[in-house]
């Protein structure tokens, strides 16, 4: 995107230009493409969360599908079973995702490297099984219908925005994407963010400087869990159904894959990754049977030849992009 090129000269105009494109282009697109872009936005939100945890704090979690699911189910269950409206359920789901992130993070973050990755995986699978099996609560494999769309917003000139059309939901989700993007941007550029980066680059050194790495990692983990929970809740609202497959462990894997393709540890990464990785299968709709095969091959090629991700390869100006030492 031209934004990545202009990022060098003037970040803000670049991002604003991108925002303008995102706002205006969908007005001329059909419902199908708007739906696809909405899905891209939701994944982008989740990827920003993972980016914070992995790109900037160096902790790879393949189990964030657990928080996608917790966010979606908390939102859906509170709305459907207790009959609360969109906003109370949404806020409740954010709080619950945060608590879940905190509770899971405490034991999980005592581990490092492969062990950490695998324990996040274990949690994700456990939560997925519970979602499927506790039929009385979650509706099991069939899921539950009736997750609400946002409440209608009355406009000053008498009309009402009901969030039923693809365009209105797109703008709603884009709104959240922008907020979360800005929040993550501020976080990364703050002292806390710089501490995260220090932990990513060399945890022992950071610790030797007297910084409590555990509490910083926990903060990062919790925030990423909250962001994933928001993505999950938005997804549930968009679909109006909650289903255990939306929180399957492969989803968690997908988010990480999209982020890495886009470029972990960059600002544009979580946006570029889902765009490219969701747009390509859509174009390949024409050959459904070999679509998955081509997708895997494309992924492998990307990962071998563009290992820093798209945005990462491009934006080498920032010292935030570092490869970690390897021993394969």
């Amino acid at each position: 995107m031209k934004t990545i090129e202009q990022l060098r000269s003037s970040p803000w105009t670049a991002w604003l230009a991108l925002l303008l494109i995102a706002l205006i282009v969908p007005l001329v697109l059909g419902g199908y493409l708007i739906t696809i872009l909405t899905i891209v936005c939701i994944y982008a939100i989740a990827c920003i969360g993972i980016n914070l945890l992995f790109g900037y704090t160096g902790l790879l979690s393949v189990g964030h599908s657990a928080f996608l699911g917790i966010g979606a189910y908390a939102f859906g269950l509170i709305a459907i079973r207790f009959g609360l409206g969109f906003w109370p359920s949404f806020c409740a789901s954010i709080i619950i995702s945060g608590i879940a992130g905190f509770l899971i993070g405490i034991p999980a973050l005592r581990l490092k490297g492969h062990y950490f990755v695998l324990v996040t995986l274990a949690f994700a699978v456990i939560i997925n099984i519970i979602m499927m099996a506790w039929i009385e609560l979650t509706g099991g494999a069939a899921g539950l219908a009736g997750a609400p769309r946002p409440d209608p917003i009355p406009l000053p000139w008498g009309d009402v925005i009901r969030f039923q059309s693809p365009l209105s939901m797109y703008y709603f989700i884009l709104f959240f994407l922008v907020i979360i993007f800005v929040v993550s941007y501020r976080l990364i550029n703050s002292l806390v963010g710089k501490t995260f980066i220090a932990i990513r680059d060399d945890e022992n050194l950071t610790q030797s400087l007297g910084i409590n790495t555990m509490s910083n990692k926990l903060v990062s983990f919790t925030i990423s869990a909250i962001i994933a929970g928001i993505a999950g809740a938005l997804f549930a609202s968009y679909n109006t159904v909650i289903s255990p497959d939306s929180a399957s462990f492969m989803k968690g894997v997908e988010i990480v894959a999209y982020l890495i393709i886009g470029g972990a540890g960059t600002l544009a990464g979580p946006l570029v990754g889902p765009l490219i990785m969701i747009a390509i299968p859509e174009m390949l709709q024409m050959v459904p049977e070999i679509r998955q095969l081509l997708f895997g091959i494309i992924l492998v090629l990307f990962i071998i030849f563009l290992p820093k991700g798209i945005a990462g390869e491009v934006s080498f100006l920032t010292s935030r992009i570092k490869s970690q030492p390897r021993n394969v």
């Binding site: 456990i126 972990a264 492998v300 990962i303």
Partner: protein
């Protein structure tokens, strides 16, 4: 239809059965046997995984699909080419070993100096490629490998064991013994073990670490293939058959300790027994939850696993 609202008030209804008042030794023994025979599968997968993880640092998520390929090879060798089932073990080991070398050379070797997480993404991509390729070539219909003695059952003292299961147990024993001999008694094996324990030290000793790494990968994939052949007559053969056992195998690797084959074996059987006993006595729906809870527990108490190096 039952009212969902009432059910919601109760905790998960996973104990949906009458509880026996008499503890039956025979039943318990049967669970042990079930656990042991299932554990063989996890054992073969976990040993391969631990080699890859310990030496290469590659968490090979595609391992389950390599096992799936082994099962398909067995099916086609027997059903299509009408050759002996035992031959298919050798064929599968060779094909998958070679495939492992190719995969290593093409995918993981070029990435060895890159960021660690990329290896994981590559493994996921490989998983997708293998599964969709299998779906395309073999079709999604479940295949059954039926051998003449597939349905025979040995009974002793109230407990039973399928003949196929007994074969799996014996074959696994032989394979693991072979592996142990290879590692302990041959130079190559010693080099493998050295690299697993201390990569830099091994390099200092003049061990060609890259070649050893490639070999470790090939052995791992060959083990997966053998596992596939052995288990094929006892399960449904489908492109998606690999993911479930893979997750348990990863847990076994953690419980046993990364890089330690002994640990992988012990871990595999422990987890298989956990799965079997919880499935029988508590609930089959949640048995995997217990398996993963066991892994998490091990990670919290002793992250290096039972036999791994102290972290």
């Amino acid at each position: 239809m039952a009212s969902n609202e009432q059910d919601l008030a109760r905790p998960p209804l996973f104990i949906n059965k009458t509880v026996d008042t008499v503890f039956s030794v025979i039943e318990f023994g049967q669970y042990l046997i079930n656990g042991i025979s299932q554990g063989c599968l996890y054992c073969l997968l976990a040993s391969g995984l631990t080699l890859m993880l310990g030496i290469l640092g590659v968490p090979n998520f595609a391992h389950g699909n390599l096992y799936m390929l082994g099962a398909y090879i067995a099916f086609y060798v027997v059903a299509f080419f009408n050759m002996s089932y035992w031959l298919s073990i050798v064929i599968a080991a060779i094909i998958l070993g070679v495939l492992g070398l190719i995969i290593y050379r093409l995918i993981f070797y070029p990435m060895r100096n890159g960021p660690h997480a990329n290896l994981f993404v590559a493994a996921i991509a490989l998983l997708m490629i293998l599964e969709s390729a299998a779906l395309l070539w073999f079709g999604g219909e479940t295949k059954w490998l039926i051998l003449p003695y597939s349905n025979d059952v040995i009974r002793f003292g109230g407990m039973s064991l399928g003949v196929q299961r007994l074969i799996i147990i014996l074959a696994t024993l032989m394979v693991m013994l072979g592996l142990e001999l290879f590692i302990k008694k041959t130079t190559v094996g010693a080099a493998l073990e050295a690299t697993a324990q201390n990569r830099e030290g091994a390099m200092l000793c003049g061990i060609k670490v890259t070649q050893i790494a490639a070999m470790a990968f090939a052995i791992g994939t060959a083990l997966a293939g053998v596992a596939g052949v052995l288990i094929a007559p006892a399960v449904m053969i489908l492109p998606s058959m690999g993911l479930g056992p893979l997750l348990v195998a990863f847990s076994a690797v953690i419980v046993g300790g990364m890089g330690s084959i002994r640990g992988a074996v012990v871990g595999a059987f422990i987890l298989a027994l956990v799965e079997s006993l919880t499935s029988g006595y508590i609930s089959a729906t949640y048995s995997l939850v217990f398996v993963f809870a066991a892994m998490i527990l091990m990670l919290l108490i002793r992250p290096s696993g039972l036999f791994g190096k102290e972290l």
